[in-house]
Amino acid sequence: MAEAASMIEIVKPGLSTTVQDLGRPGYYHLGIPLSGAMDRKSLIAANLLVGNKEGAAGLEAVFLGPEIRFHADATVAVTGAEMPPKVDGVERPGWTALAVRAGQVLSFGFLKAGARAYIAVSGGIDVPVVLGSRATYALGALGGHEGRALKAGDRLAFGPAGPPVGEGRSLHTDLRRKAEPVLRMLPGLYDHRVTEEAAERFLAETWKVAPEADRIGYRFRGGHALDFVPREPPFGAGSDPSNIVDSCYPYGSIQVPGGTEPIVLHRDAVSGGGYFMIGTVIAADMDLIGQLQPHQPVHFARTDMAGALAARAENAGRLARIRDALA
């Protein structure tokens, strides 16, 4: 009997490669986070390049690309980080629809910029839909391929492809990922816990991405410890000045345990806990975080709700231009 579905086979998994789509909303109140691509615009662009629906499942590869053998013909696009794709060892352009034939191997050169590459395959990666999504939530062993990052020998089904797209179709450079070293944040939540001087210095300082930066959250270091406003700890909060009565954590919220190293929660966020938060990175800048490398310097910049909504509209406009270009 012929193989039932078109398959890819993971020859080498890279550092951590997971199946991701645009996520699993609706279960955050039970501790199951959104998950999905950390850089959503790049996954959407990759999908549109190969003729998929923009929310189809693809692969997210961090820092080091995987090696993938195709067992059927497919159209493939690689977007996001600058990590040059190779087909049978020959370098091919990123942000471009590539034809890969059965038996060929997709691999990657070294990372040049960014952190996460997105690999779309025509028809999308077909893993079971769990709670409405194919995204991997590894901490909860949920979704994706067996709830985990891919391993050598894993076989994943893909397809069937939609209408064929022109090979070589490419997204204009202006519409590709933009690297911005500034993360705009809306102050609030528990920012009254720190002194005004500490809050100002937090914004003035250069922070560097710490090695502990993953899909749950990005940790930053290099700035001064925050000074807290003295208080009598509220019942149940705990005695550390950075403790609060365990609350929900917004996506993008910036917690600072012990006042020392800020952590920005991302797509696989822990949904709540007992650390105060100084504010929240606006939704428009979340994709940027997913492309930050360890040791990269960044600044946090204060904005207000009007600024956040203007950035949101600009982000939506950018996405609309990507859709138009690949329609």
Partner: protein
């Protein structure tokens, strides 16, 4: 009530800075009212211990309009709290070898490296020994006042007067490992770790009863992979090694049936007579 926006997609509402069952019930009542009012653009409704969070799409509802809607529902939390809920019994093997091995591995991160987590917590709460702490921990029921951190993890509030609630600081630095199904304690909250992973709570024991099953093969988690909902009541029952092993075997064989009873709970009745209310709850559990 303190309202604050978490970026452009979350409205965060602190009911009270301090933990209390009153604050939890207000949070639960208001979030239920938000759910019932079906406000356009609201995408996630997350009740927490003494606060809650609404995730919304600002392209559908302006942040200012959502704030107005929420403020109009404030009253929903003011009335007497009556709840149709469940009481669930959880066997616990206190001072088990697995959490003990783990706490020994992370002793340098603890306030008192010379004692176990149980010994330390007993001492700082004025209990003469670990046995009396376990008796207090398992003697009265607990409210699930929040579900989260990771998938299906319940935060538990002890249903006793404030001065009788067990309190303990978190580890000085969080552990990188906690056995799955550890029963822990931090601040005034109990917790059951639904998955293996990092954690900072004091570790008291382990339950054989899974509370999260993404494969949905465990009999009582087939319909939904998460056992707990905010408002559930939990009663711990101490068991020894043999009963623990037997329960694990039953879970694996698909024969384990948790003891769960439907109950009515009234906050005002509880406030008037906590001991009597708890005794009645336990009677319904075992009656």
């Amino acid at each position: 009530m303190r309202y604050t926006f978490g970026g452009d997609e979350h409205l965060f509402v602190e009911v009270d800075e301090a933990m209390s069952l009153e604050a939890f019930f207000r949070s639960l009542s208001i979030t239920n009212a938000v759910r019932d009012s079906r406000i356009r653009g609201v995408t996630e409704i997350c009740p927490a211990n003494a606060s809650f969070q609404i995730k919304f799409d600002p392209d559908v509802i302006a942040p200012g309009d959502l704030l107005k809607e929420l403020k109009s529902l404030e009253g929903a939390g003011a009335g007497g709290a009556e709840l149709k809920t469940r009481i669930i019994e959880m066997p616990v093997f206190y001072d088990d070898p697995w959490t003990r091995e783990t706490l020994m591995r992370f002793r340098e991160r603890h306030q008192d490296p010379e004692a176990t987590d149980l010994e330390y917590t007993a001492r700082i709460n004025g209990y003469p020994d670990v046995t009396s702490l376990i008796a207090a921990h398992s003697g009265s029921p607990w409210f699930v006042s929040m579900v989260g951190f990771v998938a299906g993890l319940p935060f538990l509030t002890q249903m006793v007067e404030r001065d009788k609630q067990i309190q303990a600081p978190k580890y000085l630095r969080p552990r990188t490992d906690t056995p799955k199904l550890t029963v822990g304690h931090g601040g005034c909250f109990g917790a059951i770790y639904s998955v293996r992973g990092a954690g900072g709570y004091q570790m008291f024991g382990i339950t054989p009863m899974p509370i999260y099953d993404p494969t949905q093969t465990i009999s009582y988690l087939r319909e939904f992979m998460i056992l707990f909902r905010p408002g559930d009541i939990v009663k711990f029952r101490p068991v020894g090694r043999d009963a623990y092993d037997a329960a694990v075997e039953e879970v694996e064989a698909g024969r384990f049936t948790p003891l769960i009873r439907e109950v009515d709970f009234s906050l005002s009745a509880f406030q008037a007579d906590p001991t009597g209310t708890n005794a009645a709850l336990l009677e319904e559990l075992h009656g």
